[in-house]
Subunit: 397 residues, 2 copies
């Protein structure tokens, strides 16, 4: 069977619950073009290490299963290629006569693609570099949101909904440390399944709202006195006014780093520190901190049906756009103006230049700075993304 | 409306995802008896502090919602009553003319009920004390399993299924610390959604199988060399041959406790310690430890449909049994002999004496001591408990 052209697909960065939906979307539509589908194993790393897999014979049945599997089905990588690495990639693509390179990844991937695309242009080699976004952080500019985010948001919303009732049963203070170094979208999403005013999370600390320990403690105290309990969502990326990461500040505090204790590199440092501050300074005995782990991006069964469908369609659209628009680009989801209107994703093209190296954070109207909470605007924006398959909840007390 | 008798219901200990199913079961069947339903708020603590709520007017619609809500709808308590406290409880029950006291709780609750029941017998006061089991640890003797366990098992199974693919995407070592101080049932359940021989968790460390650091490291190394990755499930209760908790050993090691560092009381100590050992001694760079948190017992949406149904029926049966058998007792699920037969729960009576103060651990034929894994017997035993609403999964690499 003669194929029309050689297509390379790779997945990069932290995987998500729906990253394989995008892979499937690309594969299904490229098959219709009679393309020769090649997968690079472990992202760009596979390209420079000659690890490829032909994907033409993946059956429809298997693809269905792969779509619903968390993690990157082709493997991913944390490699951050420098110019030499990128030139090597370009040379391999050229040697393999690749005409389109789809890279499903975050911000970094679009940056890499931009440089590879420029190499090709300079050499007049006909290559389309196509960025297919994914990130649970939701921090890509010019996108309403990114595939992967909705499922992670659903997971943390479900978790905090359960935690709300758990802490209501056994009152105390609960702190959950949520992923997201620069943007607070995921931490803010812990609020999505609150029903009543008294429901937790009662306080939400995001990187966009400067963190100050005393104010944190005062607010926890206030809520604890009001409700007899306090559920707090804290982003791992909280920072002070000068944009200094709070977790770095803890590590540099003499009190906690006097002897280079190994625990300081531990995964639980931020939560443990905050919990200990509450115990010692507020004299509250029942305080628990959980550092939410990888499950935020890969929990089997918490994929949002909306996120699944969009991640798939963004893959399909990447292919459709590539046929009309012969250049390199990033496929995306159009930013909404009005969050109250019925929600429907619209797929768009962005230039790699416009996406690469930029980070989107929570817009000012999404959070209540003073009360460390989210706003109605945020809820209107975010609720449609996690789907609607949720049972109602209530307790007696 | 004249009620026939006064019934008190309370919930104690760590809540579960289905503890309100049992509450609903009791309420529904006691209503049929025309009983006056009184709830004690926050377990036995509400009894001695005079915090009660009449439950007669909870609507059928609300009860439906309450059943599906994690956490204890009446509130729970960590109080471990001594004899004086228990005598006080008895006196309140007598004063309130309570004829049946349902306590939904773990091992401790059955012990408390036994003593209260004995007070009543000694005073010839007619009181039935009924223990309705719940525990995610699954460590109640004379029970095939306990309500609450199936949902927690489902949660950790889903989590490790996702983690398996996540770590396959980005190879390294992953350690998940799972709840369960004495029994390894929950940690063992991380294996329930494995599909293939290569799937993680690859190593499972439970309290029943003595833990030894060097052997742990050697086994991680062996798997890592074999598969290029290693997913490990570790019970928080792992202990050495002398039954000394490993986490206590870490705390007492000079190296890590030289200055009473505050981090040592942190929630992540066991996982962080093991991760650091792997990094430094096996020279593997990508190592991550997550300490699974409260979500194991309360994640909204991960309740097992089998667990939900059984928790409800155990509540219904508690009432039915109480009418036939006029004494105090613990309701339970009959132990299976053959795990290959089609699974169906049978509800039984146990004496409080037989249950109280005893802890069940993993039977020897449930774990492979040498390979730090579970056996087929365990899988046959446990798989039916988490239900069957799972999507198939697979990756390309």
């Amino acid at each position: 069977m003669a194929y029309k052209n050689n297509i390379l697909i790779a997945q990069g960065g932290g995987p998500t619950n729906v990253i394989n939906q995008s892979l499937a979307g690309i594969m299904i539509n490229e098959k219709k073009n009679n393309s020769n589908l090649i997968g690079s194993i472990h992202g760009v790393n596979g390209i420079v290490n000659n690890k490829f897999k032909f994907l033409n014979n993946v059956s429809q049945e298997d693809l269905k299963v792969i779509r619903n599997t968390p993690g990157a089905a082709l493997g991913s990588t944390r490699d951050k290629p420098d110019k030499t690495y990128l030139l090597e990639i370009y040379n391999v693509l050229k040697k393999k006569n690749i005409s389109k390179f789809y890279y499903i990844g975050g911000n970094d991937s679009s940056d890499s693609l931009k440089i590879i695309s420029n190499f090709a242009k300079a050499k007049k080699y006909n290559l389309q570099c196509i960025h297919v976004p994914k990130t649970i952080d939701n921090d890509l500019v010019l996108n309403d949101h990114t595939p992967g985010f909705g499922s992670a948001a659903k997971y943390v919303a479900q978790l905090f909904s359960g935690i709300n009732y758990d802490v209501k049963s056994l009152p105390g203070v609960y702190i959950g440390i949520v992923m997201g170094r620069h943007a607070g979208f995921l931490t803010a999403s812990t609020s999505l399944l609150r029903n009543k005013k008294k429901d937790g999370p009662h306080l939400i600390f995001i990187p966009e709202n400067p963190f100050e320990l005393n104010s944190f403690l005062q607010n926890v105290k206030k809520i604890f006195l009001k409700y007899g309990r306090c559920v707090v969502a804290v982003s791992e990326g909280i920072q002070d006014k000068k944009k200094k990461l709070f977790v770095e500040k803890i590590k540099n505090t003499n009190e906690f780093d006097a002897h280079g204790n190994i625990q300081l590199s531990g995964s639980g440092i931020l939560g443990d520190f905050l919990a200990n501050q509450i115990k010692s300074k507020l004299n509250i005995s029942r305080v628990r901190a959980d550092t939410l782990g990888y499950s935020q991006r890969c929990f089997h069964g918490s994929a949002s049906e909306v996120d699944q469908s969009e991640a798939f369609k963004i893959g399909l659209n990447a292919v459709n756009f590539s046929l009309k628009y012969k250049n390199s680009f990033s496929v995306g989801i159009k930013e909404r103006k009005n969050f109250r209107k019925k929600y429907k994703a619209q797929y768009i093209l962005n230039s790699l230049d416009a996406i690469a190296g930029k980070t989107k954070v929570m817009p000012r109207n999404f959070f209540d700075k003073k009360n460390f909470d989210v706003t109605k605007e945020f809820l209107d924006y975010c609720k449609p993304l996690i789907g609607n398959k949720f049972l109602e909840t209530m307790s007696i007390i």
